[in-house]
């Protein structure tokens, strides 16, 4: 039984040792490149030349590629089908019975798929190599609200508990003669009685957990310390600034490309 929703894979790699904010900046940089670079193919270069090598450096390449593939494939396929075949107007390049593949649609699909792959793989890279509590700690240390950091962390662990509780509730009903094995309708009908105890039970849980947090001084103002120590280096600080400047440069360049023709006119 999994006890956490986190995708983090512990490894002793240089990527893992980076400060969470450095990893966050790297990922943001990839996102900006992926979303703002012009043309159809450049975003794929971001994936191949930055994201994949980083995943390899972190020692998580096989699971990373598997997860990226599984997440992106259905979306990529549907984008190609919908945009490629149903593009309104456009230049047909291939006829498939009553349908035809349009050049404009194909280009749009390639660009959208590239962007989607870059976004998904950037987030996967971050979650595979960054302890969620480390990231939240880094953000809190820079003024991110503690309560939001708490909710994000607790959700990761409490969602699987929710599933476990749902299973226990279902077991209790089966033990009283509720048939849950059978066709979809039988199973759907079996799930209905779960809703009330799950909700009422979690209201009680939430109240008690709020009390437990107060007992542990969660609401206390003033400086907090941390058992988890994040290591930062001057080089990483410089790198983060460079990445930020890089992002601004790409966005600025893209804006310029968009506005320049109109200025000229």
């Amino acid at each position: 039984m999994s006890t956490s929703f986190s995708l983090y894979i512990p490894r002793e790699s240089g990527m893992h040792r980076l400060h969470p904010l450095t990893k966050l900046a790297l990922v943001a940089f990839c996102l900006v490149l992926g979303l703002f670079l012009p043309g159809v193919w450049l975003t794929y270069l971001v994936f191949l030349l930055i994201i994949v090598p980083l995943a390899a450096w972190a020692g998580v390449l096989p699971p990373f590629l598997r997860a990226a593939f599984k997440t992106a494939l259905p979306v990529v396929i549907s984008v190609f089908l919908v945009q490629g075949l149903f593009w309104p107007g456009g230049t047909p390049i291939l006829h498939l019975g009553p349908l035809s593949l349009k050049q404009e649609g194909l280009q749009f699909a390639i660009r959208s798929a590239g962007r989607f792959i870059t976004v998904v793989s950037s987030f996967l890279l971050l979650t595979f190599t960054t302890r969620p509590d480390g990231l939240m700690l880094a953000l809190s240390q820079r003024g991110f609200p503690n309560s939001i950091a708490y909710i994000m962390l607790a959700t990761m662990q409490i969602v699987p508990r929710f599933q476990a509780k749902a299973n226990t509730i279902l077991d209790a009903q089966r033990s009283r003669g509720l048939e849950t094995e059978g066709n979809l309708l039988v199973r759907l009908r079996a799930l209905l009685p779960l809703v009330q105890p799950l909700l009422l039970g979690s209201i009680v849980d939430i109240e008690e957990r709020a009390i437990a947090l107060e007992v542990r001084a969660f609401g206390r103002q003033g400086p907090k310390t941390s058992l988890l120590v994040l290591r930062d280096t001057p080089a990483q600080r410089v790198l983060r600034w460079l990445l930020l400047l890089g992002m601004l440069a790409v966005i600025g360049w893209r804006l310029y490309l968009a506005i320049a023709p109109r200025l000229a006119a």
Binding site: T3, D133, L153, A154, R216, A217, T225
Partner: protein, 278 residues
Amino acid sequence: MIRLRDVTYFYPRATTPALADVTLEIPAGQFCAVIGANGAGKSTLCYTLAGFVPHFYRGKLSGGVEVAGVDVPASSLAKLAGHVGLVFANPFNQITGARFSVREEIAFGLENMGVPLDEMEARVEDILGFAGLRDLAERSPFALSGGQQQRLAIASVLVMRPPVIVLDEPTSQLDPIGSKEVFAVLRDLAATDAATVVLAEQKLEWVAVFADRVLVLHEGRIVADGLPGDVLASADLTQYGLQPTRYTQVARAAQAAGFRADRHDLPVTLEEAVEFFR
């Protein structure tokens, strides 16, 4: 140190008080057990000492509540944290969910208090050994059994070293020897660290052995208050929905059958019962 003066409390929309005219003083270093039937007000008393009545549950509180030198109604929960520790029955709901190992879970309270790293590490190590959780330190808190989670909940509060510790049936999921060990730990905390310990419990055998003092609550009122030997052997106990220990029960039944009819003090512990029947 705890001081309650004429405390009466109504939960929101309640027409009968959950606590009525409770006046009570518990000095530092005392281990005080609170017993009573379900609904007698034990949990409410615990929540009042820890400030959740009235700050969390609202409702109407009158009278004075002073705990560890803090005027509870006039203070806030944030200010009370660190002064009063509270442990309650369901250990699962006391896990923060924001930490991924037992060690970090225990440290959570110290982090919020801003305890420096080296001191925090030392205190966490210390309590891990004390609670028998050292071998489980790297596990996810959610991967522990109910009994282990209960020890974690207690350890997570004790590590903050509050001068006043309030526990509401903290041994419900522990096996018999585990429960006894918790009682022994609480007695030692009171005796050696001069902590004030208030424990609501149903396990009267261990109350009899370990507590310094026993309070009986009935319908929100304190109806008996004294040494365990006197309170637990009192004939009134059953009328408050409590059952004396088997030691007292057999002694009373034996007396009714003519055995040691001259004895006025009935045994409440195993040791006393051995002496009574020998």
